[in-house]
Amino acid sequence: MSLLEIKNISKSFGSNKVLSNISIFLEKGEIHSFIGENGAGKSTLMKIIGGIYQADSGQFLINGKEVHMQNPMDAFREGIGIVHQELSVADNMTVAQNVFVNREPTNALGFIKWKQLNEDTVTEFKKIGIDIKPDTLVKTLSVGMQQVVEIVKVLSRDVKILILDEPTSALSDKEISNLFELLLKLKESGTLVIFISHKLKEIKQISDRVSVLRDGNFIGTLEKDEMEESTIIRMMVGREIDNLYPPKAKSRDGEIVLETRRLTRNEKYLDVSLKIKKGEITGMFGLVGSGRTEFAYSLFGADGVDGGEILLNGRPVRLKSPKMAIRYGIGYLSEDRKRTGLFVGMDVKDNVVASSLDFIMAKLGFLDDKKSEQVTEEYIGQLEIRPSNCSSLTVRSLSGGNQQKVLLAKWLAAKPEVLIVDEPTRGVDVGAKCKIHSILRALADSGIAIIMISSELPEILGLSDQVAVMHEGRLITVLENDGLTEETVLAHAFLKGGDNQ
């Protein structure tokens, strides 16, 4: 008898059906992955299991007996813990308060026992080999650490069923490997771990079985031995995708567009000297906190510079604001599309033209509506943004992949010479991922210099012509990508990086 049995679960929001008759058996002590394109219904399914949404029909059986979960509290009682895709920590509170939110150790009168609270927190973190000050304010932690807090928060309840919805998207490889060790431990102790990720590699590495969803339907479950990337992808997208990555740049002798000389931002990065060539994609690999995003911010004028200089086409430039950077032909596709990328409440057209308003001006500060209309339609076509008539739909109503495309369109519309893309495919399904990769390559071929920041090594290797490795605020090395292997890059990242400490 399986620990968790999902029986014909269906769910629809208003008119559109997100889940139809999902039925899966999940066993005690296994790590079971779910994979599927964005909008395939993974997260919805998890939210239903977690008691945040209620299914329209169908039932859950835990150890064979049916359970009804009206709210997260019920789910917790059933021993179900869920780590959400979007951060759900309160950053105005301390780590300890977050970990034990709503179940703080209190005395009879509901007054909190701070000492115990903090001690418990420390021990919880010890379990995954991290020591942390329990009274640290969460807002002062890196995104990665915040994610860890989130995970610890769930783990600290003794959960029978642990759901992780893309827990690794913000984590550094080190944190990921810690997490995986932990998951294996939990598995040993008989916990059912449900794991959701877009990274096939991770899934193969960690899971015993993987179930694939497509457009709200259950496609099938694969055992460990039958997990072939190609198979999984076929099941996900319903078609073959041969050759995940587009070909490299034809030539590597484009002239240098952007150059930094000993660029320094105190406490962020130090002495970064880098040459960016026309027509090339420069992959920038580094862990979260390695200073890569901060470096990008400086290049984009969103953050200051304390030392060194930036040369654009040979001429030194002072970039005081993104506005200025855009004028100079620099674009930055930010890593967090919801918070710093898109205007989710406004329609696609408005989002596409957001950073190129200056280009679509008629006269006297008036906008040329027709033109912005054209521009939008053009990119909707070029990037295959779905639905294709979306130019006046709110971005909120699009799927994650399409939102990311809109974000990309925003920057294409700005006609940059240099385009910095930060985690361009985070939380994007395979189909969209390929599309974005080929677009980036196409852009490069059209003569744009692209800097791609990513913590997905395969992506870096697959796409970029030269790889810049950053570690703890230093540019360790820049490698020409001729058949680079993950090992070499990692070696640089850690071994060399290690020396600098």
Binding site: F13, K323, A325, G341, L342, F343, G345, M346, L357, G365
Partner: protein
Amino acid sequence: MQKRKRRIPVSGRSITLIIIIALVFGVISIIKGELFYSLTNISNVFSNLSYDLLLACGMTFVLILGGIDLSVGSVLAFVGIVITMLLNRGLNVALAIVIGLAVAVLAGAINGVIVSKFNVAPFVATLAMMSSLRGACYVLTSGFFVVGLPDSYVAIGRGYTLGIPNKIIISIAIMIFLGIISTRSRVFKQMFYVGQNANAAYLSGISSARTIILGYAMCSLLAGVAAILMTSSFAMGQASFGTGFEMRAIAAAVIGGASMNGGEGNFVGTALGVILVALVNNVFIMFNGSPNWSTAISGIMLLVAVAFDLIRTRKRGESV
């Protein structure tokens, strides 16, 4: 049909309002007959609205930016007093007006700077401006009316052009101006971006600070214009002018479809909101409602109006 949607800035809300207003008009005309047909009456209703209209439109700017401006009432009073005092000292009318408007813009800009640069809650920032300026009014006048204004100035508010009260002409002119802005202007567009997501706006090369300051300045500027209309048509400046107007303005704008969370709002809606509120008050008086209740009415009005949002928000809630 997308085209139409873009060309005319009429939201679904506006249509609801038009219907309601039409109904009210109809009912009154049936019950009371002729009244609302006579031109003088209509024009008169509108000329009485001009102050509220201007303030509410100004407020719309700020609400779109995701802010709020409690200081409009005080700005109105203060500008009015500055202008009238200058005129009283025999200053040239045009010059006095220019100075007055400059003061208004300055006040707004200060609000904007405090909000954008120093990241202070708009409520607090403008609350401070509100009490400071109101205090300043009394400091300047110690409560006395400022009178003895030149006829040329008084004519602005009292006079007629082609048989239409100047107040209306000016308000309509401004409304047209705002209409154009709201369809085409880049800066206005940028206000929506900032109101929606300030960080994303910044990273899209929109200087949020400048936009916000501009928005608040616009808001105060319109309050300044209202001050001119008011002081000139009453031929006096007074420290208590515009008390409590800010709430009326916010109410009208919200009724018109502006959202307190920013990124939403349009002038057509706001104008309709103003008209609706005034209309209800008129009806109330028309049927000799007890004056004791008239305050309560506006409150209930606002509640009923925001209740319209229920449907819209429900819609939105689904597309998570």
